[in-house]
């Protein structure tokens, strides 16, 4: 296991190097100039040149990359061009917000999708199953921003049950009130997929011989479905939850914008708009690292769900 983990962690190094090169090139080849953003659109030409010089943007691309990498290996992600503070401070400030959003969003999804998927599979072709299929189709067809705006109008503006915008720590009830609507919104983007997957996965295992054997042995029906059925249907579900969690951590941009959450998604979008290269580079590296780590955790989760899987 230790050898497996070490190997997987070492694999992240070439991934991060590749990501750093790609992001650097994409950013610098995209039209737009951070100096222009800092200077303001109507700044005189010499002001823009001065700012370019102060940011080192007047140097050839390979020099800029070499400087970036030399800073990176020393653990320095640089300073934001717009805000002038360390990029790490931005990541540290915004990550808990996005982590809370993604975690509560996934929790909501699991609480809704898994029972719905199991019940739909168990009551196959019933009215309940049809209703689930219809709900999945409707959920798939609705864009996240539409769901977010509807929730906002209904529960924050009309009923005023929840705050309109903003973020507070989840250590307080107020924090949960703030995160509820955004989490349901991001969760809604994943719920249809997870419900469908749970349903089809359950349908497959419920027809297996070992489920019939369990019933023949007189095992309680709930135990048949959950212990013998769902546990075996869990592997694809874990994969999807893991991948979706990783994606949500990479910034649920639309949701964060609708609910004005100070998370990483908004940070990156604003940084891209301002061509704030150090922030974008730092954030993308961070996303990549998070994504790789979650993949490793998902793989480890397989072993927990299925004792036949062993690593190392």
């Amino acid at each position: 296991m230790a050898a497996y983990l070490t190997g997987r962690l070492l694999q992240t190094v070439p991934v991060l190097i590749g990501v750093s090169v790609l992001v650097f090139l994409i950013l610098h080849l995209t039209p737009g100039n951070p100096a222009l953003f800092v200077a303001g659109s109507d700044a005189p030409p010499e002001v823009v040149r001065d700012i370019e010089r102060s940011l080192g943007l007047d140097q050839p691309l390979y020099v800029q990359y070499a400087r970036y990498v030399s800073r990176l290996v020393r653990g320095d992600l640089g300073r934001s061009i717009q805000a002038h503070d360390p990029v790490l401070d931005h990541l540290v400030a915004t990550f808990p917000v996005t982590l809370a959003l993604a975690s509560v969003g996934v929790l909501w999804t699991v609480l809704v999708s898994v029972p719905m998927g199991i019940v739909a599979a168990y009551r196959r072709n019933s009215a309940l199953d049809l209703a689930t299929i219809f709900a999945v189709l409707a959920g798939n067809a609705m864009p996240v921003f539409a769901i977010g705006l509807m929730l906002l109008y209904m529960f924050a503006i009309h009923l005023r049950w929840f705050p309109l915008t903003g973020y507070r720590s989840l250590a307080t009830l107020d924090g949960w009130r703030h995160i509820a609507l955004p989490a349901i919104t991001v969760g809604s983007g994943v719920t249809p997929l997870l419900t469908r997957l749970t349903r089809s996965s359950m349908l497959e295992v419920l027809n297996q011989d070992y489920v019939r054997s369990a019933r023949a042995k007189g095992v309680r029906e709930a135990a048949v479905v959950i212990r013998h059925g769902f546990r075996n249907a869990l592997l694809p579900v874990i994969t999807v939850i893991g991948l979706q969690f990783g994606l949500l951590l990479s910034g649920a941009v639309i949701t964060e914008s609708i609910f004005s959450l100070p998370g990483m998604g908004r940070l990156v979008v604003q940084a891209i708009q301002a061509r704030d290269f150090p922030v974008v580079q730092g954030a993308v590296l961070f996303f990549s690292l998070t994504f790789v780590l979650i993949s490793i955790l998902v793989d480890l989760g397989y072993a927990v769900a299925d004792p036949r899987i062993r690593y190392g």
Partner: protein, 530 residues
């Protein structure tokens, strides 16, 4: 009811109860909390490192400037009680107000002003230092006097000194924080009416009243302390939730309202709808270096071919005035004679000019051609509520006179980069200004490739623009500005479209005695909640 159902209901009730709107006014007699729903986040609280509007909103609250700008565009005292300009316009002597203290408690002196202006002039990569570039030295002969020595006179120096980027800094705080100055709540100090208490980027900045503040500029009836006990600058970037925040009472003011909402809000009558006119011009600019825009006749025809009234009605929902002239009427230096030579909407005349200039239409409705080349123009623009409507309107109107317009939509940063690279034939942009010096920015030959995106290089224009900046005679400066306006219109360098009316929305409880033009609520000293 099953246990799970009971739990759900309890949770909902708990959430609903805790969702009671926060009390805005606090305890009886307490100074009220004012929540301002803003469109963007402050980049940095180091005013010398940014020109962003959102940073200015906070700078005006935290800091003070030497002079202040009144709503009639005259300059009034602020940290400087008075000032004297030498006859040659090259020496400005400021006498500072006594009794001013930093939020940290230290007395404010002339040495602080000298430090601030010296830092500003020499700060690497400062986007605004050019505003005082002619300043050669700054002296502080005594704690109450600051003297600025200029290489050449600069008629708009006071405008620069009234701007947010010229906020006076505490040297101790700057030196202590180093490169981190202005990046967090604890890394900033000012003499302004409010003190930063908390700053969560992209969410909220909370500022508490400075109880010792007594030195507000005379542009306010209340010189301090502020009536408001606390100001919360709340970032809500999306239009709909931001407006909703004011409508449901989560915020009491927003500076930006989608124009299509104004009619509904007015009819509902639940909020204050405040309209005001600042100095702004939305225009289409020509790249003179690109054929056929080097041809005056083509530029004139396009000027005659655009129906500005339709743009005001269609894109601005009537919230603006068609702009035939270069500058708004309110700006000192405006030349009324421009109205006699401006281009009104006259598509027949536009067609006639193009016909006479050799641009022939093979058949009615076709694109005009001259020497085998079509009259086709690349139109760069960046999306926005008004621009989204202006572009198709202009495209359709110009097509009506046989001019083909090829719009290319670019995201904001890419748009300005493309303009600087000179990729455009024509472009759509809006400009906001506080003085007629905007003419210098846009039409001086040394300002190419941007903000002189027209490629306009004319020795006569340059001469008048130099006079407008360096002459010590107000009459001479006004005459120079007027001459430049005449040149701009005669040469049809742009198509001025609209002077937009601004609309802000406030709750009925908010007392808003004045909107300080582009500075909006400025220092919020007169603002109160009933």
């Amino acid at each position: 009811m099953r246990p799970m159902g009971r739990c759900l209901v309890s949770a909902c009730v708990a959430l609903a109860l805790s969702a009671m709107p926060a009390l805005v006014l606090g305890a009886p007699g307490a100074a009220p909390t004012f929540t301002y729903a803003r469109t963007g986040e402050t980049e940095t609280l180091d005013p010398e490192r940014t020109t962003a509007v959102a940073s200015a909103e906070a700078d005006f609250l935290i800091y003070d400037t030497l002079v202040s700008l009144d709503t009639d565009y005259t300059y009034k005292p602020s940290l400087a009680e008075k000032w004297v300009i030498s006859p040659d316009g090259k020496t400005y002597t400021f006498t500072l107000r006594r009794g001013v203290r930093w939020a940290s408690g230290k007395p404010f002196t002339a040495a602080d002003v000298k430090y601030t202006l010296d830092r500003w002039r020499t700060l690497k990569g400062s986007p605004s230092a050019f505003a005082i570039s002619p300043v050669e030295t700054v002296d502080a002969p005594d704690p109450q006097t600051v003297v600025l020595h200029l290489k050449t006179p600069l008629s708009v120096l006071l405008d620069g000194l009234a701007g947010p980027f010229s906020s006076i800094l505490n040297p101790d705080a700057v030196n202590k924080a180093g490169d981190d100055y202005g990046t967090a709540a604890g890394k900033v100090d000012g003499t302004g009416p409010f003190i930063v208490r908390e700053w969560v980027r992209n969410d909220r900045m909370i500022l508490d009243r400075n109880p010792n503040y007594r030195w507000g500029p005379p542009v306010f009836a209340n010189r301090g302390p502020a009536h408001l006990g606390r100001v919360v600058l709340k970032v809500i970037t999306q239009d709909a939730p931001r407006l909703a925040a004011v409508e449901i009472g989560d915020a009491q003011y927003t500076p930006s309202v989608p124009p299509q909402e104004v009619d509904r809000l007015t009819k509902e009558g639940k909020l204050q709808i405040i309209r005001y006119q600042d100095l702004n011009t939305e225009f289409i600019g020509f790249k003179l270096g690109h054929k056929p825009l080097d041809d005056l006749k083509v530029r004139q025809a396009i000027n005659y071919g655009v129906n500005k009234r339709e743009i005001v009605a269609g894109a601005y929902y009537g919230l603006g005035e068609p702009a035939d002239e270069v500058l708004t009427r309110q700006v000192p230096g405006y030349w009324s004679g421009v109205e006699k030579i401006a281009y009104g909407y006259d598509p027949s005349r536009a067609k006639r000019i193009l016909d006479e200039d050799g641009w022939k239409q093979p058949n009615p409705g076709a694109i005009r051609v001259k020497d085998g080349k079509p009259l086709s123009l690349l139109f760069l623009w960046t999306p926005g509520p008004e621009a989204n409507s202006i572009v198709p309107l202009v495209q359709s109107e110009l097509r009506g006179i046989g001019v083909d317009v090829r719009p290319r939509q670019l995201e904001l940063t890419a748009f300005f980069a493309a303009l600087r690279a000179g990729e455009h034939d024509i472009f759509l942009i809006g400009v906001q200004y506080t003085t007629a010096d905007v003419l210098y920015f846009y039409f001086k030959s040394t300002q190419r490739p941007a903000p002189n995106r027209f490629d306009w290089a004319d020795p006569e224009t340059d001469r008048f623009l130099d006079i407008s900046r360096t002459s010590t005679s107000a009459a001479e400066r006004t005459a120079a500005y007027q001459k430049v306006q005449e040149i701009v219109v005669q040469n049809a360098l742009w198509v001025p479209l609209v002077h937009a009316k601004r609309v802000v929305v406030a709750s009925k409880q908010l007392v808003v005695p004045k909107i300080y033009n582009a500075n909006q609520l400025y220092k919020m000293l007169d603002l109160d909640l009933k």
